[in-house]
Subunit: 259 residues, 2 copies
Amino acid sequence: MIIVKVGGRALPNFRSIAEDLRDHQPFILVHGGGDVVTEYSRRMGIEPRIVTSPSGIRSRYTDERELEVFTMVLAGKVNKELVSSLLDVGIPALGISGVDGPTLIAKRKKRIIIMDKGRRRIIPGGYTGKIEEIRTDHLNLLIEGGYNVVMAPLARGSEGEMLNVDGDQAASKLALAIRPSHLILLSDVGGVMWEGNVIRRLTPDEASDLAPKLGMGMNRKLMMAAEVARSGIEVVISSGLVDEPVTNALKDGGTTISI
Amino acid sequence: MIIVKVGGRALPNFRSIAEDLRDHQPFILVHGGGDVVTEYSRRMGIEPRIVTSPSGIRSRYTDERELEVFTMVLAGKVNKELVSSLLDVGIPALGISGVDGPTLIAKRKKRIIIMDKGRRRIIPGGYTGKIEEIRTDHLNLLIEGGYNVVMAPLARGSEGEMLNVDGDQAASKLALAIRPSHLILLSDVGGVMWEGNVIRRLTPDEASDLAPKLGMGMNRKLMMAAEVARSGIEVVISSGLVDEPVTNALKDGGTTISI
């Protein structure tokens, strides 16, 4: 069993990913789609809001209206289109979100501090969560029954609210709970880049040491990959835009993090 | 096991329906939500299109853009909100659509004839389907595993496209395939009305005879109810807006169609 995360930037190549996945069943596929959310938010008159933390980190702020768009676009449009593409190539698949079951239980920050015109200001935390618990009984039932599962990165909050969660985090936490042979993180880059080249192999310790020297997105991805790899699961960070992206990832065609 | 269809007009009372469903597990719940689709279509600048058949029947025409809104609103927003409400009252639930599995396989009309300014015109059929096949293995897995299933009325077309399907039809076809003890169709009316009163009981034959004398919506609903009842499953058409709507339906609080 493998877990594959397909980031939003790799989704345009999903037809190839689907064809390749025929030879890698059973799988759980966690998808992104933030760019599609932004497009539909704008169509509904909602401008994405970026906030800056006191330490200068800029991040997207999901308010209640935008969370609704996340739910519609990720659990509705993107999830069902991916399920349809898998069915098109003969792969039995069911699409759910982390809310269903529930599968992913997350915690929302009640308040956050942001910088507003140079001054600190406390605002309610957005509808984004940090995953704290994973439940997998229903996933095991489906996998054992011969189905593959496509999961939208939404979670159930501790007060019953829906929350947007990071797709890499969802895939990593699922991997730690379900223990697949491999966790494959597909995006639009060929792997972890260092001095212009893709690093082929890293131990978990090497990955943890390297992560802080990388850009924001890859930093977090690599920290999570290190944690999963440390538990004995092989993690591959590679491109979803090449031919046979899953087979390529499993044949060292990216950065493999393993003990 | 029961199958419950909750029409869009009964959704505002879903909190009561969810509390009541605690005592009626396991269940499969098929939901509507066409009014919510219309609202979001308008927000995205899509006006609902109504077409008139040569025999004068007016119906909603789902084009490709509106099908996308159906997918987002029904499989995303409405489905996940209902799952959240069930989880809120302690009911383990998973939300899928008829595309997933696939569960519902439907056929789309390639072309339809409409009246346009008094003249017949042939246009491509909309993205609406008639259900032709039901697959239930995954539903049985989940039900036997202790989960309840919430289903959005979308189907997979014979060419892999997604289609909007009628919720009553989806619930009725599922009932014929899965054979629950009861099929309960909840809407905003107390049952089948005749001369100002709710009819308490009908045999399948009585229901088939009465159906053509009723309004368009109830006509189709009652014809499907008769077909399901004829197979030995008790069907109840009743209000989702009363207290304990499911318990009420099972205690003759609507129109019961049975052999």
